[in-house]
């Protein structure tokens, strides 16, 4: 049970922006889907630092990423 980043795909797709993927300290975790024009998170790898939330909310004022609780898979 821990927090991971979650991208609101519909909101994210409105902007042509992959800024958050450039500032994630984890490689291959916050990825950008060129077809859907949206970022997405590999939940198994996200360490929950919320740096992407800072980039999306404080820097760009787009509020597309939130931290949400996930539970371990059985």
């Amino acid at each position: 049970m821990y927090y991971v980043a979650k991208v609101n795909a519909d909101m994210c797709a409105e902007y042509k922006c992959n800024t958050c993927t450039l500032y994630c300290p984890e490689a291959n975790t916050l990825m950008f889907d060129k077809v859907g024009n949206t970022s997405w998170v590999d939940e198994d790898r996200c360490k929950g630092c919320a740096l992407c939330v800072y980039v999306c909310t404080d820097m760009l004022s787009r509020n597309c990423i939130t931290m949400e609780m996930v539970h371990g898979k059985e």
Partner: protein
């Protein structure tokens, strides 16, 4: 390594680990910076993955950036030493040599000389990536001597201003007055002037920076590597905060890096005339290649 060794034989491909095959197919091996570089991180398979660094580690971010901006990852060897950085550097799909307590620059001297003898027709890049302790405290003599001898390789110092891996002792690079877990009285000496020392020792390209602007940071890493190929030793002094020892909330790590850019890590770039010549030549070539490629795409569209 070279591209030939990285690429698997087609008939054995199905028996190889999935991660490896993905790395060859969608990774940066043999590709240009436009296809797989820092500008489109998150759209290709990166060299480094699943490292054990702390959540929100700015050092991990900078290491990710280093590996994304390598001009030729299949011909690169990285060296490191004890410290946080090696945990991530050794996880990347680039050959890594682990130095024994600060001797990474001494080893890199021999390695870069050996590469020039063994592969006179190839350009092999040797990069040492170590923390402030490995470069400026424990490995200080070996770092300085490699610069004084004019060894042609790149030294990158990941300066987190503390011994983060061992619980927060003060290092030579900690600022004066820093109160740390294992230095509760506050540091009583000044921060070492790393870039001035490098200048005095004969580095031909020196940069001090806080990696907040991704394009600028990548450009500097590439410049340092290109200059080291031809002219002499190059040095990058980068701020990579330790959010654990300096108690920075993880979501504010980026804001802290921006703040440091305004005081201790103001951008400073020094290059000799010979280094400038190499940089101008290579960047003009890159620009011409980029323009030519763009022209071809436009022709196809028309």
């Amino acid at each position: 390594m070279s591209l030939k060794y990285v690429t698997p034989v087609a008939m054995f491909k199905k028996y190889l680990p999935k991660d490896y095959v993905e790395l060859v197919d969608f990774g940066p091996f043999g590709k240009t910076q436009d296809e797989a570089g820092p500008g489109n991180m998150g759209q290709f398979k990166e060299l480094m993955e699943e490292h054990p660094m702390c959540s929100g580690c700015w050092m991990a971010y900078y290491i990710r950036l280093i590996f994304a901006s390598l001009p030729c990852p299949e011909e690169t060897v990285t060296l490191g030493t004890a410290g946080c950085g090696r945990l991530a550097i050794s996880q990347a799909a680039v050959p890594f040599i682990y130095g024994n307590y600060g001797d990474q620059n001494a080893m890199a001297s021999g390695l870069s000389r050996a590469f020039r003898l063994r592969f006179p027709d190839k350009q092999k890049d040797v990069i040492t990536i170590a923390g402030d302790g490995g470069t400026m405290d424990i490995g200080f003599s070996m770092t300085m001597h490699s610069w004084i001898r004019g060894e042609r390789f790149t030294t990158i110092m990941l300066d987190n201003e503390v011994y983060g891996n061992t619980g927060g002792q003060e290092s030579g690079m900690s600022p004066k007055g820093a109160v740390l877990k294992m230095a509760p009285g506050g540091k009583q000496f000044n921060k070492m002037p790393a870039t001035d020392l490098a200048k005095a020792a004969g580095c031909v390209y020196i940069v001090r920076m806080s990696p907040t602007n991704i394009k600028k940071a990548a450009k500097i890493i590439r410049r340092a590597i290109f200059v080291a190929r031809e002219v002499g030793p190059t040095f990058i002094h980068a701020y990579t905060s330790c959010n654990i020892e300096y108690s920075i909330p993880t979501e504010e790590v980026f804001a802290d890096a921006k703040l440091r850019e305004k005081d201790r890590f103001q951008f400073e770039e020094y290059m000799t005339d010979a280094a400038k010549e190499v940089i101008d030549r290579i960047e003009a070539e890159e620009k011409a290649a980029h323009r030519a490629k763009k022209g071809i795409v436009e022709e196809e569209v028309n």
